[in-house]
């Protein structure tokens, strides 16, 4: 009789060293693991629900200002430092890790209009309503020393905005005109005007560092090159833009936030129409800042909310609000892509997580892998109704909710009217639905070019419905 005995090769199940992973014999035969889709669907749904449960974006609130926070500046070299300027001319320097104010200085009389940290991080500039530009040291003065600016430049008019060059000792201000200053001189090395009396914001392009853009009160956004003597181009929109921000990773894209509740992303080479119109706010958008990865941006609005948009998303992926947060004036995305800072009317600065459900702190490899897997699952099943429903649900305050609904109704009514006109009106027989303003292509604005200036105004046939009082003339 021959007896066969079970025998195993220890190489199959014994680790070579203690540091190796335990060998787990696996059989990937699909018959042994049935129902893969349904199982993964369940996992995806659970992951989505858990994500919403863990979505607690609000981290902390920094209070200490005695007036509304009007501007903020990120420190270029340290993540934990934040500067904020308020409407009473006070500038505060915050330590974000300790959540405390480390330094306070009375920088201006009246508003602090703009603030920027020099690229080296050793000093910062402020402009205020008192027509001055001041340069301050980043370190606090020693004991007994006076808090004094390094430099003070007296301007002829009020400055409303400020930005610093990415690498050179050059900065730009705006007010009645856009000025380029050398740090060593007291008069601007260049000033640009183009038939406008006031500008609200100016921003340097962080990638192509010689380019700038500004928002003017004549509803236009103007582009400049620091090396040229004239402005480059401007686009005039239907309503005024408040601020703008360049994409830090993609040289030719910038986003401006408009009074018409929308944000517009433009390609600076083709200003005829915006690439994407980001809509969701129910009041004027006041400030915008890109994430340092250039994939998303955050916008602050007069409607007391903060919204996060994908750079090519027509609608926001996230909305943040608190009961106590009033009109959000300024917003910044931290340089490590993890946090969002908002300064609002009611004197507080708030720190939010950029990804509401993300775990802060160190994750173990297994944890990270699980998170990644969950993320891919959510992406895979994002179109399934249940998953989508849970993922997209957000709580909104009542007033906002109703306002959003109202706006939607208004928009739909306008669209319906347009369609009626298209079909029945004599004058507007040339209309077609493709002309209808949409998010992509040309939202809300239609551009016509006129030699260097791009006017983004509605074409003639639109007036028919824009006026809104045109009687319907039935086609005979």
């Amino acid at each position: 009789m021959k007896v066969k005995v079970l025998s195993r090769n220890p190489d199959d199940y014994v680790r070579e060293t203690k540091l190796d992973i335990q060998r787990v014999p696996r059989n990937y035969d699909p018959t042994l693991h049935p129902f893969e889709v349904s199982r993964e669907y369940t996992r995806a749904l659970n992951a989505t629900k858990l994500e919403r449960l863990f979505a607690k974006p609000f981290v902390t609130s920094l209070d200490g200002h005695r007036d509304g926070v009007n501007c903020m500046a990120k420190h270029t070299k340290t993540l934990s430092t934040l500067l904020s300027g308020s409407c009473d001319g006070e500038v505060k320097v915050w330590n974000l890790t300790k959540r405390e104010c480390v330094r306070t200085l009375q920088a201006h009389e009246g508003f602090v209009r703009g603030m920027v940290v020099r690229f080296c991080g050793s000093s910062f500039f402020t402009v205020g309503d008192d027509k001055t530009i001041k340069q301050w040291k980043m370190e606090a003065p020693g004991y007994g020393e006076e808090e004094e600016p390094l430099n003070t430049i007296l301007g002829k008019s009020v400055f409303t905005g400020l930005d610093h060059h990415q690498k050179d000792a050059v900065f730009a201000t705006c007010g009645q005109q856009v000025d380029i200053w050398d740090e060593q001189r007291t008069s601007p090395i260049r000033s640009f005007t183009w038939g406008v009396d006031s500008f609200s914001a100016v921003r340097f392009n962080p990638v192509e560092t010689e380019l700038l853009a500004s928002c003017a009160s004549d509803r236009s956004v103007v582009l400049y090159d620091m090396r040229e003597s004239t402005p480059l181009k401007k686009v005039i929109m239907t309503m005024r833009s408040n601020t703008l921000c360049w994409n830090p990773m993609e040289a030719y894209y910038f986003t401006c936030c408009n009074e018409d509740y929308n944000l517009y992303t433009y390609d600076m080479r083709f200003l005829d129409k915006p690439i994407t119109v980001h809509m969701d706010h129910v009041s004027a958008a006041l400030d915008v800042d890109y994430s340092p990865t250039g994939k998303e941006f955050v916008s602050a609005s007069f409607d007391k909310t903060i919204r996060i948009f994908a750079k090519d998303g027509g609608h926001s992926r996230e909305v943040y609000h608190t009961k106590r947060m009033q009109h959000v004036i300024c917003i910044k995305w931290s340089l490590d892509n993890k946090y969002i800072l908002s300064g609002s009317d009611e004197m507080n600065i708030r720190l939010w997580k950029a990804n509401a459900a993300e775990k802060l702190g160190v994750m173990s490899p297994r944890e990270r892998e699980a998170a990644n897997y969950n993320q891919t699952l959510k992406e895979k099943f994002q179109h399934h109704p249940q998953v989508r429903r849970v993922a997209r649900h957000r709580h909104l305050p009542k007033s906002l909710y109703h306002q959003t609904k109202e706006l939607r109704v208004m928009k739909e009514a306008r669209r319906r009217k347009y369609v009626f006109l298209m079909h029945f009106s004599f004058e507007a027989s040339a209309l077609s639905l493709s002309e209808w303003p949409r998010r992509k292509g040309h939202g809300g604005v239609m551009a016509t070019r006129a030699a260097g200036v791009t006017y983004a105004v509605p074409p003639a046939q639109w007036k028919v419905w824009l006026v809104g009082l045109c009687p319907l003339t039935w086609a005979q």
């Binding site: 699909p30 090159d225 849970v390 030699a451």
Partner: protein, 802 residues
């Protein structure tokens, strides 16, 4: 001469005017034209006269000119010395003379330094009579300036396009972008303010710096670095030696071949050929073992030559030489032999090869056949085991069973030794048929059960025969995995690319980023989430099959579009999304003990009988089949149209308790509805197919094709491929679930730097140079990558070539 005479005339006139107060106007008028012409002359001439006379004359002239109605501004005479003799040594004497262009250009003709083209241009200018266009207005010139500046800036910015595209398409981006390589760094780089302090250190550094020796870590002098970059001398020598050797070898070989070719001895060649053939055969045998693919190729070659031989008449005694030999063959023994040899060659060439490879295959087949035949007893044992417990063997496939049956039948026909088991076997055959049915029922029931109970949208068990192969073949599964990752990347890319395309064509499609569903409810717990997912379901979508919303734009082309839309709106089909079907596992059964077979068999049989008895007892009264049939009949009946009797007793005739409506009336008011379409399971006796729509599943199903996908197949394939580590290998899971953006904790992400542009360009240029086939620039790559303009030029070429 004419000029002089004119002067005279005018003088005369003037004098006459002086002397005679009354002047006939005729004369004056006659002279006026000329006066105009020669006014300058007059002024000059007037200088000669005396002061008082002159003044009077001047007055008179003025009066006259006033009379003529033409106010000519006389050239005032300036007597300042500065004008007379200006600091630029330009005399005011020739003030009256107009300066011609020729005066200025005159000198140009003579100077040799002025290029010929300029001279020509100047000449043309002289000839042209057109007035020079007035300069542009300030606004216009500024506009032009702006345009030019904008174009410049736009082109400058466009250089980033490739990088931006690349980043958009990248599967993963790790921020900060320009991270320093991990690893130990030299002390000098870490400690910035380090200086030689002790006298010894200072001395050492002084010596080092005096001898131009490197101080920092990569301890190389500049010359050494340069030499590092160049090819080293040794390397060059080695390379040269190699080339020399190769050349020498080649010449030797050629010489040898020539020598051998010259040898006339036939026997020598014969021996040589034989040796070669032997060698080849040996090699071939080795090849069969080591590299079957190339062996096959060789075989094919041989086959080819055989075919050629068969087609041609080369060795078939039909050539000129062969014919001549045939004539000689009668008399010459050698010729006969030669002919015979040729024929033999033909024979050998046309002989069909029975290769060892084929043999092997055949052997394998045999083995397989054996394997099927061999474990009869084993199979028997297994069957016995199976037949005992109908609940335990639901998964064995029919084909397998049938095979077994045929095997057993064959065996019974052949082997007289197996007659003992014959009855048993026959019983088994019957049993197995029953079991087959049973099993089928069971699987169907499972299927139905799964359909009803499982909440997930995509469940069904089906025999997907096509997927079986995929499951068995690891290569295929690998391919799948690749496809999967490819698809995810594609899926990620699609959105971006589409967006780009849209922005370019200005054809704004639907935005894929749907708005947030903002609500007044704040979700706090998991239960809330559940409620949310149930409550917020749009009632229409949930209950009724998804209907197409009225599309105003589609009014005109209604018919076409509706047809299309219906297609699209059709829910994702279960079958399409189905996962791989269940598969039969065939485990080769090896008898663990080899013992007295008969004994074991009998024992087994006894045991089996006992067990089957037990099970029969346990499941007595559980008549699954009849239950099923009843069930099916019930379902069929429910689906059948019912006759509706609408007769109203007493309507139109007498009514009462004992009165029935007339038959005529009853027939008239009995309504028969049309029979429904035939059931799908009418030809499947063991299947119940429910044709009702399951609304609980539709809640979880996608009702329309999501944005980046172009057709159902695409979407379904993404859904079908699992991502988890239960179904995929570790590496695949990692690859699939790679996050798109990775950031480092606490690291500042700087904006894109100019260096990235340079880096990319360098890579591009290097790539272009590394291609040997297209030497586009003769210079060194460094030169082209660093200078700006040539870079642009370079890129253009690259863009053109790739």
């Amino acid at each position: 001469m004419a000029k002089a005479s004119k002067k005279k005339v005018s003088k005369a006139v003037v004098k006459a005017m002086d002397t005679t107060a009354a002047v006939t106007p005729d004369v004056v008028y006659d002279e006026e034209d000329e006066e105009d012409l020669s006014k300058a002359d007059e002024v000059i001439t007037s200088e000669d006269e005396d002061g008082e006379d002159e003044r009077r004359r001047q007055k008179l002239l003025e009066a006259i000119s006033a009379l003529g109605g033409k106010r000519k501004k006389t050239l005032g005479e300036r007597s300042e010395p500065s004008v007379q003799m200006s600091e630029f040594t330009v005399n005011a004497d020739g003030e009256g003379d107009k300066i011609d262009l020729s005066d200025l250009i005159g000198t140009v003709e003579r100077t040799s330094a002025v290029p010929a083209t300029t001279k020509k241009q100047l000449k043309n200018l002289q000839r042209s009579t057109k007035p020079i266009a007035c300069p542009l207005s300030k606004q216009e010139s500024q506009r032009i300036q702006r345009d030019v500046a904008f174009q410049k800036a736009a082109t400058e910015v466009t250089r980033w396009k490739s990088i931006i595209k690349q980043n958009q398409r990248a599967e993963q981006l790790v921020f900060p972008l320009n991270q320093e390589p991990i690893g130990p760094k030299p002390m000098e780089r870490v400690v910035s303010g380090w200086k030689a302090q002790t006298p010894l250190e200072q001395e050492i550094f002084a010596v080092l710096s005096a001898n131009k020796q490197p101080i920092n870590d990569p301890i190389l002098t500049p010359t050494e670095e340069a030499s590092m970059r160049a090819m080293s001398l040794e390397e060059a020598k080695i390379r040269r030696a190699e080339l020399q050797k190769a050349r020498a070898l080649q010449s030797y070989y050629e010489a040898k071949a020539r020598r051998e070719k010259k040898i006339k001895s036939k026997t020598y060649h014969k021996v040589q050929n034989k040796a070669k053939r032997k060698e080849f055969l040996k090699q071939f045998d080795e090849m069969v073992v080591a590299d079957p693919a190339s062996a096959l190729e060789e075989l094919n070659k041989i086959e080819m030559s055989r075919m050629q031989e068969r087609m041609s008449l080369k060795h078939q005694n039909s050539g000129k030489w062969a014919k001549s030999k045939a004539i000689m063959a009668k008399y010459d023994d050698g010729a006969r032999k030669a002919m015979q040899q040729q024929l033999e060659v033909n024979k050998t060439l046309t002989q069909k090869l029975v290769s060892s490879l084929n043999e092997e295959e055949e052997e394998e087949e045999k083995d397989e056949a054996d394997a099927e035949v061999l474990p009869e007893l084993v199979n028997d044992a297994e069957q016995v085991l199976n037949s005992l417990n109908p609940w335990m063997r639901g998964k064995l496939s029919e084909e397998h069973k049938e095979k077994e049956i045929s095997n057993t039948v064959d065996l019974t026909a052949e082997g007289p030794g197996n007659t003992v088991e014959e009855d048993e076997d026959e019983e088994e055959v019957e049993e197995t048929e029953e079991e087959k049915l049973l099993r089928e029922f069971e699987s169907r029931r499972k299927l139905r059960h799964a359909l009803e109970t499982d909440a997930a949208p995509l469940t069904c068990m089906d025999d997907n025969t096509e997927d079986k192969a995929a499951a068995e073949n690891p290569d295929v599964s690998d391919k799948e995995e690749e496809e999967l990752s490819e698809f995810t990347s594609l899926f990620r890319g699609i959105a971006d690319s589409l967006q780009e395309a849209e922005s370019e064509t200005a054809e704004a499609g639907e935005d894929h980023s749907t708005p947030l569903e903002e609500d007044l409810i704040r979700v706090r717990t998991l239960e809330d989430m559940e409620l949310l997912s149930q409550e917020n379901l749009p009632s229409g979508e949930a209950a009724a099959p998804p209907q197409q919303p009225p599309d105003t734009a589609a009014l005109s082309s209604a018919t076409e579009k509706t047809g299309k839309n219906r297609k699209r709106k059709r829910g994702i089909e279960l079958k399409e999304v189905l996962t791989k079907g269940t598969e039969v596992i065939k485990v080769p059964l090896i008898p663990t003990t080899e013992d007295n077979e008969d004994n074991e068999d009998t024992e087994d049989r006894d045991d089996g009988l006992d067990q089957s008895g037990l099970i029969k007892e346990a499941f007595a009264g559980d008549d699954v089949i009849s239950d099923f049939l009843k069930d099916k009949r019930k379902q069929e009946d429910a689906g059948k149209p019912k006759v509706v009797d609408l007769t109203l007793p007493g309507w139109g005739e007498w009514g009462g308790t004992s009165l029935k409506p007339s038959r005529h009336k009853r027939r008239r008011f009995r309504v028969k509805t049309a029979p429904p379409p035939p059931r799908k399971d009418r030809h499947l006796p063991s299947v119940i197919m429910s044709e009702k729509r399951n609304s609980s599943i539709s809640l979880h199903q996608v009702s329309s094709l999501p944005f980046p996908f172009e057709n159902h197949a695409q979407f379904e394939s993404t859904i079908r491929s699992p991502l988890g580590r239960t179904w995929n290998t570790e590496r695949t899971v990692k690859k699939i679930s790679m996050p798109k953006v990775v950031t480092q904790m606490g690291a500042i992400i700087e904006p894109m730097a100019r260096e990235e542009l340079l880096k990319e360009r360098k890579q591009l240029v290097l790539r272009s140079f590394s291609r040997p086939c297209s030497p586009c620039f003769p210079g060194s790559p460094v030169k082209y990558s660093i200078t700006g303009e040539s870079c642009v030029f370079n890129q253009k070429h690259i863009g053109y070539r790739y």
